[in-house]
């Protein structure tokens, strides 16, 4: 029998967290800081509107782009909150989570042989998405010294004649790093000079703890070459509803829409109805969740520094990314031993690509009580080394 698996499917690496996942499942009494989603439930008014819509028989496909009412509300929201101007009729697609938005964005711009720069440490999907689209993922290293922002000099050095696009994600998973307006300005000229597309995944935008989130498309003249990705998962604790969105100038949006039409048709309707309710009435719920993350962040970071795991203060998302280098263990060894010896799950930084090695990702989207417990166990672990 032939090998039926395509070379592309063979080429993409298996998920780096799988091994840990399986190990955690065999253990009891684990405090997991390995979770990449909010610990809050979706605010009830959002759930209720989804349930009501099902009762009313709203269970059909929507237009490919998504519900017009949702796009209109979103367009208004983005303008108000971020100064982003996207026409709800032809510059916006509601997608099945940001995961799908990322996939169709990458496929819409990638030709075989194109190099796509990916700011790393970064979310695990970017590289494989590029590979599956026939492009070549090229890691762009971000370092702790720069608070894990994209360094303009490093960016300029990495660009070749084949470079087509740059993928960034700020606030960042796994580092919690953010890029301010001036940080983005510093890379905008390079992106424009080399005529690159910028894919900006801003799913953690609402979880910005110092000042306001700056959306990349609002900086310099980046708008015409930027694909903005965002969604409802993190801000409104709606991960399972699977609603994200892609915004881009019409030409790029139309290309992504064609792919979306064929592979997804439309995002789930119940999630779209719920997302509309989120925009209409959940501002306060969102703010109180963001406040709680901020308190936990302050508590957790100070705890990490106290037990000797130095860590820059993450300004967004809900992750801390401390260095474990001075323990003498690799991030993999650290995570595995911490789990086996003290039953605390963290994710080894190398899972997130270049620059992640020597760090571990700890999510503080868990209760304060669990954070305190985790810190105590980590302290015990560090003292035992």
């Amino acid at each position: 029998m032939r090998n039926f698996v395509s070379s592309r499917a063979q080429e993409i690496p298996p998920s780096g967290i799988r091994k840990f996942f399986d190990l955690v499942l065999t253990m009891e009494d684990v405090v997991s800081l390995g979770v990449g989603e909010p610990d809050f439930r979706t605010p009830w008014n959002i759930c209720e509107s989804g349930i009501y819509s099902i009762e009313q028989g709203v269970t059909s496909y929507t237009s490919n782009r998504g519900l017009q009412t949702l796009r209109d509300a979103l367009s208004h929201y983005l303008a108000q909150h971020y100064g982003l101007n996207y026409n709800s009729n032809n510059e916006m697609i509601i997608t099945t989570g940001v995961s799908e938005a990322l996939d169709i964005a990458v496929r819409a711009i990638t030709d075989p042989g194109d190099e796509i720069l990916i700011a790393q440490p970064g979310y695990v999907s970017y590289g494989p998405c590029v590979t599956l689209a026939g492009g070549t993922p090229v890691p762009l290293r971000c370092v702790e010294k720069d608070h894990f922002k994209v360094n303009p000099d490093t960016l300029a050095e990495q660009i070749t004649s084949k470079t087509k696009a740059l993928i960034i994600n700020f606030p960042n998973n796994p580092t919690g790093g953010v890029m301010t307006e001036s940080d983005l300005k510093a890379i905008a000229d390079i992106v424009i000079d080399h005529d690159l597309v910028l894919i900006s995944d801003e799913v953690y935008a609402e979880l910005t703890y110092e000042g306001q989130h700056c959306s990349a498309a609002t900086v310099s003249d980046l708008w015409e070459r930027t694909i903005t990705l965002n969604g409802f998962s993190k801000a409104y604790a709606m991960t399972g509803w699977r609603i994200g969105y892609l915004c881009a100038p019409q030409e790029l949006c139309d290309a992504a829409l064609k792919i979306h039409q064929y592979v997804m048709l439309c995002a789930p309707v119940t999630g779209q109805v719920a997302a509309l309710e989120a925009l209409r009435s959940a501002e306060e719920d969102k703010n109180s969740m963001v406040n709680e993350y901020r308190l936990r962040r302050n508590m957790f970071i100070s705890g990490l520094n106290r037990i000797g795991l130095t860590c820059h203060v993450p300004e967004g998302a809900f992750y801390a990314f401390p260095s474990v280098e001075k323990t003498g263990l690799s991030d993999e060894e650290f995570a595995e031993r911490l789990l086996k010896e003290q039953r605390v799950a963290v994710v080894p930084g190398s899972v997130f690509g270049t620059g992640g090695e020597g760090h571990v990702r700890c999510s503080y989207a868990v209760s304060r009580k669990q954070l305190t417990e985790a810190l105590e166990r980590m302290d015990t672990f560090l003292k035992s080394l």
């Binding site: 998920s15 967290i17 840990f20 996942f21 955690v24 499942l25 684990v30 997991s32 390995g34 979770v35 990449g36 989603e37 610990d39 439930r41 979310y123 695990v124 999907s125 998973n173 109180s288 406040n291 308190l295 936990r296 302050n298 508590m299 100070s302 705890g303 799950a345 994710v347 899972v351």
Partner: protein, 163 residues
């Protein structure tokens, strides 16, 4: 009152047993600053006291509470204030509000048992001057008090590790 004061109030309302050290860490304020702000909020009577939300039903002390609604003839110059103040002096009255609608005042009254509550209402509240009508609703079960739900919610199942 500024943003930090509001943040302190939110934290304390949720859990007033946190140490000043913990609060200082969470709010990025110095410990002395937290103490100073709390003292000021106490002095201004914005923080009335530090209490505990208790599910008395579960504690099983058998106490009974009732919502009492009153129609009241307001007094010249004082409106409802004087009578409200008189009512509020009773230990049995745990909450008292002026409301719109059919009735004027709404009380929450707590007693050892149903007889205790009804005796209090008929002997102390109903006969008071200016009270024209009372309606008593015994509380049969509490599901939520001051933002705290009293029923078990199953833990949300999340994947133990996700990217």
């Amino acid at each position: 009152m500024d943003e930090k004061d509001l943040e302190l109030l939110r934290i304390l309302e949720e859990n007033s047993r946190l140490s000043t050290d913990e609060i200082a860490t969470m709010t990025s304020l110095a410990k002395a600053e937290v103490e100073r702000r709390m003292a000021a909020l106490e002095a201004a009577q914005i923080i009335k006291r530090y209490s505990t939300v208790i599910n008395w039903e579960r504690a099983g002390n058998g106490e009974v509470s009732a919502i009492i609604e009153l129609k009241v003839s307001p007094e010249r110059d004082f409106g409802y204030d004087r009578i409200a103040e008189r009512l509020s002096r009773f230990r049995q009255v745990t909450s008292l509000r002026l409301i719109t609608g059919t009735y004027d005042l709404q009380l929450i009254v707590t007693g050892k048992n149903m007889q205790d509550v009804s005796r209090f209402v008929s002997e102390h509240v109903a006969p008071m001057d200016r009270i024209r009508e009372t309606a008593t609703h015994i509380i049969m079960k509490s599901y939520k008090e001051n933002g705290n739900t009293f029923f078990e919610q199953p833990e949300t199942e999340r994947l133990p590790i996700s990217p």
